[in-house]
Symmetry: none
Subunit: 124 residues, 2 copies
């Protein structure tokens, strides 16, 4: 996990890059539910950034429901809620939001959908 983390000097705040990369690792399955995240201090040392900056990223992840933090123990990938059967309303709302996000990054909504299909299909 730690080895995958990289920072770029492209104007995007460090904590945002970190937040997004970890979120991506979770979404991709590299980090399974319940798995322990690297220590904030580890991340800070490896990436040569401040502890506060890592904390900000982790806090954002917790706010998004992706991560749970336990003092003295560590941070863990949240156990995802089960069974999404018929949540069409939520799905559509999320889809609209995601589509806007894709556009905002210059990513084709079509290609994004394809990539998502591969993620859910080839699970890994």
């Amino acid at each position: 996990m730690l080895e995958q983390l990289t920072l770029q000097d492209n104007g995007v705040p460090i904590y945002v890059q970190l937040r997004d990369q970890i979120a991506a690792a979770i979404g991709r399955g590299s980090l399974a539910p319940g798995a322990r995240l690297p220590t904030m201090r580890e991340v800070a040392v490896i990436l040569a950034i401040d502890l506060n900056t890592v904390q900000r990223a982790y806090a954002a992840l917790e706010e998004d429901g992706l991560v749970t933090m336990v003092q003295g123990r560590g941070s863990f990938v949240a156990e995802t809620p089960p069974a999404p059967r018929n949540r069409r309303a939520e799905t559509d709302a999320l889809a609209a939001k995601v589509a806007a996000q894709a556009k905002a990054q210059g990513v084709s909504v079509d290609e994004l959908a394809q990539a998502l299909l591969k993620l859910s299909g080839g699970g890994r």
Copy 2:
């Protein structure tokens, strides 16, 4: 072009979002070499941001060799823009991130992908 521009409140600086979206449009061919970009003032008004912020984005694009600015005339896509960035990495990263978001909300990644396909394909 102007209609495609959108901003998000996700921690990424506005001028970076703008810079990346226009760069993506150029890379994808939506803006052909020599084509005129929307006026800085137009963009500022449409997106309800400051002229200085737009200027920063345009300046970054010029520094990257994607755009040429001519005082009194406007801004134009460079005649020989550098090789378009590879968007596949970004697409995959966004997909993973979005998948995490979906899981955290209990939304099926598969169904989300389907909803996105409808949005881009038959989506009106």
